[in-house]
Symmetry: C2
Subunit: 604 residues, 2 copies
């Protein structure tokens, strides 16, 4: 099920649904109701069953929330979606609110001057989110009310059922550690802190811990499930029995006890001792269940986050193979694109490019899915950082512009994410300012790739390194430099991150994207992205230092570089990288593509 | 009163004094007593009257504290002083404790397992320092007891009296703003927050606010005084009347009411309303006085800190002139040093170099003092980051080594701080590793000089930029990259700072040092330091960016550079910087020195 290009929603659907929601609010004596994009697992992708925000409003962005009041309906969306939201919703009834610039508490205080009750579904919000909102509402007469039923579900007649995708086993040779080992490892962490158990609500944590993969949502092979890991290393797994094949049941074994999801609340109420729960990611409903029971809830991070982020050598070998395979697909694709764009009558548009790229990737037997909706922005569309082409926005590629393509795949052994910005000839039609920016983006990408740093430094410490060359020219980009990436798991994972908010020390085995960019609204977008993995690096006596290895293998468009802006070290890196790309990829290409690759990877 | 080179203390002085302190502790029923290095103003330099820690122990470092117990005496010193402390104190009675690695609370818990009373002088500790210590002692039976008399003062028969240096007026053409304007500006900040007044305890804040300078301690022209700034922009200044000349009295005028220092506590007790006091810098004694009175103490930063840090154009003009003058002195000094070191029989040692540098600086009529004790480390002494040469440690400069000289001056119009690392010939005796490190330190210094960044970024964001070239070679340095610098005020001032702890956004007019380094213990030390000032920089539409101008003007030793490690931009910077140094300094030099300067500043 690859990408489709139809607009999935329509602005006209919203007003009538909002009216019905308001009728339910009135019936419950509420002055407001909050509809978040998130599901109970707080992931980036949701199942159709959980796509309440899109169904109600028409807004399909990956983050945001609606606060519906009797007279107003504020749709809170961040900078990525300011433009998109205007096309997707009927702004005569939904008011886009810039977020986080406008705090929901301030907006509520402004609209509900008399106070009022605002309902929410405690399955869809974390304890920290609600606590922050309550803190900021202090002194107002506005009260947040957790509801036992979601009001959108009540009015959504043809709501799809919750997903029930089959599980599969994640093989031991790719995982590097059995789930038995992993459970013991993480349980030891709980025991050391005197905790009796931890509640797991993040599907990729559960998938990692138990060496399983799921098929409940597109793009990320995770199962919707909850779990309790006990300090004795056994697990209670709450999952729909239809998802569990016989093979998976055998793989899980006796120490992983399976239960129907509806027994979760009761089970939490019966726990004893200190029980860790992550207030940033767990549903508030589960916190309430612990509080109402016999355990003492203990705030703490999901204990799988860090061990999952620190990939072991088997996982790195697995994803390295996936990246080589993806490099072959990218070379075939870029060769095709380059040849087509060279013809004056190429007739290519954004959708045709996305289709071709996905089709090439999908040919491989280990391909499972794309890892996110491919971004293909030609010309000014490149400046829309999270652009997703639809039939409505599709546009031809014109001569003398840039095309930004950000894409990735889920293979059976790894997850890829790569961005290349390529030339639609002729080169001399590209403004010098764009080539200057392209070269500075590349310099930043190389500077981060070559960076070495004392162990203990964080992504926040490295972020300026990727921006330095742009900053020196008065340029910048309004997104982070890098996100964590899983191995046949989420293409966006934490806690590792290269950005101002990256406060976690980077550790060996962490996979991150390295993707500086530059965007000129209405003109062009540039981004160059490789995935890198943290490794030990040489250092003088008495110090421990870390550095990166690059996983991604695909040529960078040399025609867009201003060579005089690169120093000797940068040129040497680029030439060596291109030589490595050729060496790894060429043997897997047909003759014609091999010749093309030799040409585009020759020394600068 | 320039630097002297005699060891000011002796390890033999400590044991008998400690015994007498313990007798006083016993008389007061105390099991312990804390002796900090700080005075009531928490500055880096203290008057002889306040030098209790050195008198008691022999330790002369600029930070640290002693906790004296009945059986043990822990002298807490940081990494800079690990070596020095061993020479300065009798370690059979004083035990050096690595700090902050060992927390005083943990040390106390370990030593006072039965609990006990530990006295301290509430004039010498801040509320935050005591509160943190109390927090960490929670659950133990150890109690901190503020005393009304300092036990060291009681046993110190010939304690010098508190300083009583005369004030002088800081002229309006250098200040850029009258004290009337400044008081109104800062008072408006208080009024906006509903605060009736702020307590000022930092002498450089008071000096800045009232456009005065003092002479109570060496190296920093500040007065020991306290003040209360009211929201109506009037000030109550608590200062010894003998410090106030008729000219200063006229300058201060009627809106600055003067009071004897001993009336401070009573005056604080009579304040009304919210009164701001900085819990990180004010004495706990003043917090207690507010609490005991009719005001409501309000935690908040000293309101002068930020406006003082953001130098106005007049202040920048003033210190620019001081830096040109200091550049002339440095050129004369470096010329002399270069000529002397070229002679095989030069006979130079560290003390001779310091004396000559200070003597050259002191020739100028606007010279007032050195801004800190000159650091001159030859060979392996260069690796001791805060080395201060004494007759005991003095060593000749040998052929084929590096000499690190970190120095500065207080002129009537500005404060300087500069480090140069120079060659003692022959060059080919210098190991390649040292020249490699020198070049990487220079690359870091240039990278930070050329950096531009979006307004709002902090010193923590810029710190990695200065380290990048060293990091890439597995090297680093264990100190911050830059500290704030005043204008004829403290050579170390906050809140601006370039280091991991630099959390304050940099703003235009802030002066900072830019001083990466590299140290190989037992071999060499390298540091290159210029002062820079933050200014507006060009940026693409929709952004505001900042950058640096360089204040310091002195040649960098070209003979230590490995030119092949510099890129074109770095070479261009160095050549342009050297050309600027020549142009600014040469007209003020005698012919022979001018020829030398032309030679050492020629393009690389």
């Amino acid at each position: 099920m690859l990408q489709d290009f139809t607009a999935r929603t329509d602005p006209s659907q919203g007003p009538e649904r909002l009216a019905r929601l308001r009728a339910e609010m009135a019936r419950e004596g509420l002055q407001g109701f909050i509809v978040p994009r998130a599901d109970a697992h707080q992931g980036e992708w949701v199942a159709p069953h959980d796509d309440r925000l899109a169904w109600l409003t028409g807004f399909t962005g990956s983050a945001g929330f609606l606060i519906a009041l009797e007279e107003a309906a504020g749709l809170f969306v961040d900078g990525r979606y300011r433009v998109q939201v205007k096309f997707e919703v009927d702004t005569t009834v939904f008011t886009p609110v810039p977020w986080p610039e406008t705090r929901p508490a301030d907006w509520l205080r402004d609209k509900l001057t008399e106070g009022g009750k605002v309902g929410f579904d405690p399955w869809l919000h974390t304890p920290d989110w609600i606590a922050r909102l309550e803190d900021r509402l202090e002194g107002s007469d506005i009260v947040l009310v957790p509801l036992s039923e979601n009001l959108v579900d009540r009015i959504w007649e043809d709501q799809p059922p919750p997903p029930c995708g089959k599980l599969r086993v994640w093989p031991g040779h790719l995982a590097g550690k059995s789930h038995d080992e992993k459970r013991r490892l993480v349980a030891a962490d709980l025991a050391a802190k005197g905790e009796a158990a931890a509640v797991l609500t993040l599907p990729d944590s559960i998938a990692w811990l138990l060496n399983i993969r799921g098929s409940d949502i597109p793009r990320t092979p995770i199962p919707h499930a909850f779990a309790v890991l006990h300090a004795d290393a056994t697990v209670d797994l709450f999952i729909h029995p239809d998802k569990v094949t016989a093979e998976v049941a055998a793989h899980l074994g006796a120490e992983v006890r399976r239960h129907p999801p509806e027994t979760l609340i009761g089970a939490l109420a019966r726990l004893e001792g200190l029980v860790r729960i992550d207030p940033e990611t767990a549903p508030l409903r589960l916190w309430h269940a612990l509080e109402a029971g016999t355990a003492v809830p203990q705030r703490g991070p999901d204990p799988c986050l860090l061990p999952k982020a620190r990939k072991n050598p088997a996982e790195i070998r697995a994803t390295t193979a996936a990246h080589e395979r993806d490099g072959v697909a990218m070379a075939l694709f870029l060769h095709w694109l380059d040849e087509r764009l060279a013809r004056p009558d190429h007739g290519l548009d954004e959708i045709a490019i996305v289709r071709r790229l996905e089709e090439i990737r999908a040919r491989h037997p280990l391909f499972e899915d794309i890892s996110f909706e491919t971004i293909c922005g030609a010309g000014e569309h490149g400046a829309i950082v999270h652009y997703r082409v639809t039939e409505r926005t599709n546009r031809p590629v014109r001569p003398g512009e840039l095309v930004l393509i950000d894409s990735g795949a889920q293979y059976a052994d790894g997850t890829t994410d790569i961005t290349r910005t390529v030339l639609s000839p002729p080169a001399d039609a590209i403004p010098r300012a764009a080539r200057d920016a392209f070269t500075r983006v590349l310099k930043g990408m190389i500077a981060l790739t070559l960076a070495r740093w004392p162990a203990g430094r964080t992504g926040a410490d490295l972020d300026p390194i990727a921006r330095g060359a742009l900053w020196r020219a008065g340029l910048d980009y309004d997104h982070g430099t890098g996100h964590g990436v899983g191995v046949n798991l989420a293409v966006h994972e934490g806690p590792q991150r290269i950005s101002r908010t990256g406060s976690v020390p980077l550790e060996t085995g962490m996979i991150l994207s390295n993707e500086p960019g530059h965007y000129r609204e209405g003109k062009w977008g540039i981004r160059i992205e490789n995935l890198v993995v943290v490794r030990e690096a040489e250092a003088e006596e008495g110090r421990r230092m870390l550095g990166f290895d690059t996983l991604t293998l695909a040529p960078i468009d040399r025609r867009l570089i201003l060579p005089e802006l690169l120093d000797a070290e940068e040129r040497a890196w680029l030439d060596a990288y291109h030589a490595r790309v050729f060496e790894a990829i060429a043997p897997h290409l047909p003759e014609e593509s091999r010749a093309w690759l030799a040409e585009v990877t020759r020394p600068l």
